[in-house]
Amino acid sequence: MPVSGIVIRCAPERSDDLARSLRLSGSVEVSQVLDDGTLIAVIETSTVDEEVASVKRLMDTEGVLDVMVAYHNFEDLIDREC
């Protein structure tokens, strides 16, 4: 199950709402909301496909300015996919 750490930048006034809705959705774990409104989150899915889909959904969410990837571990997929 790949794991990635992402940084979500949004309009500061949107960050708390966004964090709340992400926590409810279950697909993206928000670990922290910084003072400037940046969200620190972890995505954990069954496949990289689902990771990417999650990030793209986030990017298309109103109020989200960008989503960047800080960390990506896919060690348990290597032997399966390669």
């Binding site: 940084v7 300015l65 960008d66 800080a70 896919f74 060690e75 290597i78």
Partner: protein
């Protein structure tokens, strides 16, 4: 995955994200706690010219993790969405692992010895029968510096031909000639720090949010911290960048030329220029006009620069009134006035950013000149936070193609084959007879493929690029490659592509961290990396392939190295200096890249600026010291508006523009191997305006047929995607190997740079 390991990795992921978001102030110690069994190494990203730093995690000989390098100044720990696929692009199921030789319609496996011997024999045969100019190499802005240098040395100093061109001719050549004609030296004066320090950013035909996302992220970050920051997006298509800009200004294709002259007109009319700066640092010139479009084979052009006075330049600008430019461009006169005043606003730190909209343009050199004109008129240049910045597409179009000089007319470090002193220097460093290096350029890229089609080039080696998908007017060149009659095409790549399918010989190659490498990014930052994993099967790195051919052709003495990468770099470094200085190789090993000129242990952030550039003396302020012919001054060029090579008419009433999307890199040879990306954005679509679609009876998701004078294609219509076409325009991305949109593109090019115009040709659009 065991629970505790998963929890550990999730904690590492969160810590890395926190460290990246806070510039390392928080989370750093957790990140540094090693994830057991993973060994990390640094490398620049394999994809675009931004040059983000990546840490690659290896376990048991395979890449198992990547993270944004928190120590990398370019991206400070963050990667764009393509960061998910960096390593996956190496592990596609159809990775090339064995040398292959064509036998009839089949490719059969061969040994490296057999294959290299065949290649060498073809080179020898062709050189003997037809001369050294019958063989050629087409390389890449994705070549490492070592590969590009070896190719240039072998072909120019060994074989004795200038038949070397990179695919960067298709993307950055106009930027180069823009720099050379304005400043007499290639590459930007500013750096990425300008994205953090400025407050006004004009983007010209550059979809940064998708094509340079990390750089765009820095602009957004700047704007979040400083509400005064303005981002203005000039485009012919509404993109994610337009959505996030403060203002989107739509203009008619090709009229960027008129717009920039219009802005200059207002600046001069209202005396908003910096008179002192102009007096000290600028000369005015004009060149030829009606310069053609390169549509005929062997088209030749030589400019004829003549000096102008400021008054003559003022006269030249007179016709470009806001009203005239508004009529031509579709941009309201009031907007043009506002933009000009914003450019000239003394209280604002103004930057211009551009890529393919300006470069892939039949007047690409001119439009690059014109954006510099505005910055030179206002003196908004060579200052921290205030610069024109040409953004680069490929990861080493700067570092390899442009700096090493893997072009027909070039030698390293801005030097040219036509200059006898430059040839003498190259001969001395390479240890060859100066007569070996030919003094005349041969073919730029489009002409090289024309020459293959005609049979003037018989043997062509393609490395790290896919020209039989990316060349314009593609059908002609695809057919040309398979005409036989002594033609022999060699392709080195990592996957089967639309180019390997036309090859006589395919060489399986190593990629990225499967070899030691060096790239140079858009802000003059050279970045080194070590090999971290083995390439699969029998794949070998392109540098080895070049040296092996050299040996078999009797030019082995050109490569007498025990440690080729480092020794060649130090040899190449001897060309640099006088403003293009590179650091010793070991300095790059330690650093997260270094920006040249590198002098006395220090990198240079802002060229030509006193206090920043060591070649500018105290009291000089700004000095364009590479432009010795113009006494250290930059050139303001009087370049007129001229129409595109092919404009919409009754038969072909739409503009076709081609380009990239976020998910896919170039011709999709790597990103197309990632199943997730194929699913997310599998096929190229035709972006069409809903009103145009309605008139044509085309619905969202319906089939549409595009036809130009050169070819035809059927695509799915997208009326409401992330990119939105303007009325009278369609846009198609060129990544899809099943939809060769470049068959429709015209192979007209800028006569000065040789770069084709992929952004403008005429098509008809029909319901299919």
């Amino acid at each position: 995955m065991p629970l505790s390991r998963r929890d550990f990795l999730k904690a590492s992921a969160a810590a890395a994200a926190l460290a990246a978001a806070t510039g390392g102030r928080l989370g750093a110690t957790e990140v540094e706690a090693a994830e057991g069994g993973i060994r990390w190494g640094k490398a620049p990203c394999r994809f675009c010219g931004t040059g983000c730093g990546v840490l690659v995690g290896v376990s048991n000989g395979k890449i198992v993790a990547t993270k944004g390098d928190p120590a990398a100044p370019v991206n400070k720990g963050l990667n764009c969405i393509k960061g998910y696929f960096l390593s996956k692009v190496l592990y596609g199921k159809d990775r090339l692992t064995k040398p292959l030789i064509r036998k009839g319609n089949r490719m059969v496996e061969a040994s490296w010895a057999e294959e290299m011997e065949l290649i060498a024999s073809k080179f020898k045969e062709s050189i003997t029968k037809h001369g050294p100019d019958s063989v050629a190499i087409f390389g890449s802005g994705q070549w490492t510096v070592f590969e590009g240098y070896a190719a240039a040395k072998l072909f120019k100093g060994g074989i004795g031909t200038n038949n070397i061109e990179p695919n960067a001719r298709f993307c950055m050549a106009s930027a180069v000639t823009g720099f050379m004609t304005t400043f007499a030296s290639d590459e930007p004066m500013g750096c990425y720090d300008d994205l953090d320090l400025g407050d006004t950013y004009f983007l010209w035909g550059a979809n940064m949010a998708e094509c340079h996302p990390v750089l765009f992220s820095r602009l957004i970050d700047n704007r979040l911290k400083n509400p005064n920051v303005k981002i203005i997006d000039f485009g012919t298509r509404h993109t994610r960048t337009s959505q996030m800009a403060d203002k989107y200004i739509r203009f008619n294709p090709q009229t960027d030329l008129a717009l920039l002259n219009g802005i200059a007109h207002i600046i001069v009319r209202d005396k908003l220029y910096d008179e002192n700066f102009i007096k000290k640092h600028v000369v005015f010139k004009k060149g030829k006009t009606n310069i053609g479009y390169g549509l005929e084979d062997k088209f030749k052009f030589a400019d004829d620069p003549k000096p102008l006075t400021f008054d003559e330049y003022r006269e030249f600008l007179k016709p470009y009134t806001p009203e005239y430019v508004a009529k031509l461009s579709g941009v309201p006169a009031k907007t043009i006035e506002e933009v000009a005043k914003l450019y000239a606003d003394k209280s604002r730190k103004v930057n211009s950013l551009w890529t393919m909209g300006f470069n892939q343009h039949v007047r690409g050199t001119w439009v690059n000149n014109l954006v510099y004109n505005v910055h030179l008129l206002t003196g908004k240049i060579c200052k921290p936070g205030e610069n024109p910045m040409s953004l680069t597409g490929q990861p080493s179009a700067c570092g390899t193609a442009r700096e090493v000089g893997t072009f027909t007319h070039r030698l390293p470090a801005d030097m040219v084959v036509t200059n006898p002193e430059h040839r003498a220097k190259a001969a001395e460093i390479w240890g060859v007879d100066v007569k070996k290096i030919p003094e005349k350029p041969t073919y730029h890229a489009t002409e090289m493929f024309r020459a293959l089609d005609r049979g003037d080039i018989k043997v062509l080696w393609v490395q790290v690029t896919n020209p039989f998908q990316s060349a314009p007017n593609l059908s002609r060149y695809r057919k040309g490659a398979r005409k036989g009659d002594g033609r022999f095409v060699i392709v080195s790549d990592i996957y089967p592509t639309r180019s390997t399918e036309l090859a006589d010989v395919i060489l399986p190659s190593a990629s990225w961290v499967e070899k030691e490498g060096f790239f140079g990014n858009a802000e003059r930052r050279g970045q080194q990396w070590f090999k971290m994993v083995d390439p699969p099967g029998e794949a070998r790195n392109d540098l080895w392939q070049l040296m092996e051919l050299a040996r078999r052709l009797g030019h082995g003495k050109l490569f007498p190295y025990k440690y080729p990468e480092k020794e060649m770099f130090e040899e190449y470094r001897r060309f640099t200096g006088g403003g293009k200085d590179l650091a010793p190789y070991d300095a790059y090993v330690k650093a997260r890249g270094l920006r040249w000129p590198y002098v006395n242990g220090k990198e240079t952030l802002w060229r030509y600026a006193e206090g920043h550039d060591p070649y500018v003396k105290t009291g000089e302020g700004v000095k364009f010291y590479k432009n010795k012919a113009n006494d250290g001054r930059a050139v303001i060029w009087a370049r007129p508006y001229e129409p595109a090579a092919e404009v919409p008419d009754r038969q072909y009433p739409f503009w076709l523009c081609t380009g990239r999307v976020l998910e896919h890199w170039h011709t999709g040879t790597m990103t197309g191997r990632v199943p997730e990306l194929k699913r997310a954005y599998g096929a190229a679509v035709c972006e069409l305006h809903p009103e145009d679609a309605k008139k044509l009876g085309i619905k969202q998701g319906g089939k549409v047929k595009l036809t130009s004078r050169r070819g035809s294609i059927v695509l799915t219509a997208d009326l409401r995607g992330r990119g939105k076409a303007e009325k009278g325009n369609v846009f198609v991305a060129f990544f899809d190997e099943n939809k060769l949109i470049n068959e429709l593109c015209i192979d007209a090019y800028c006569p000065i740079s040789g770069e084709p115009d992929y952004k403008k040709c005429a098509v008809k659009v029909e319901k299919a």
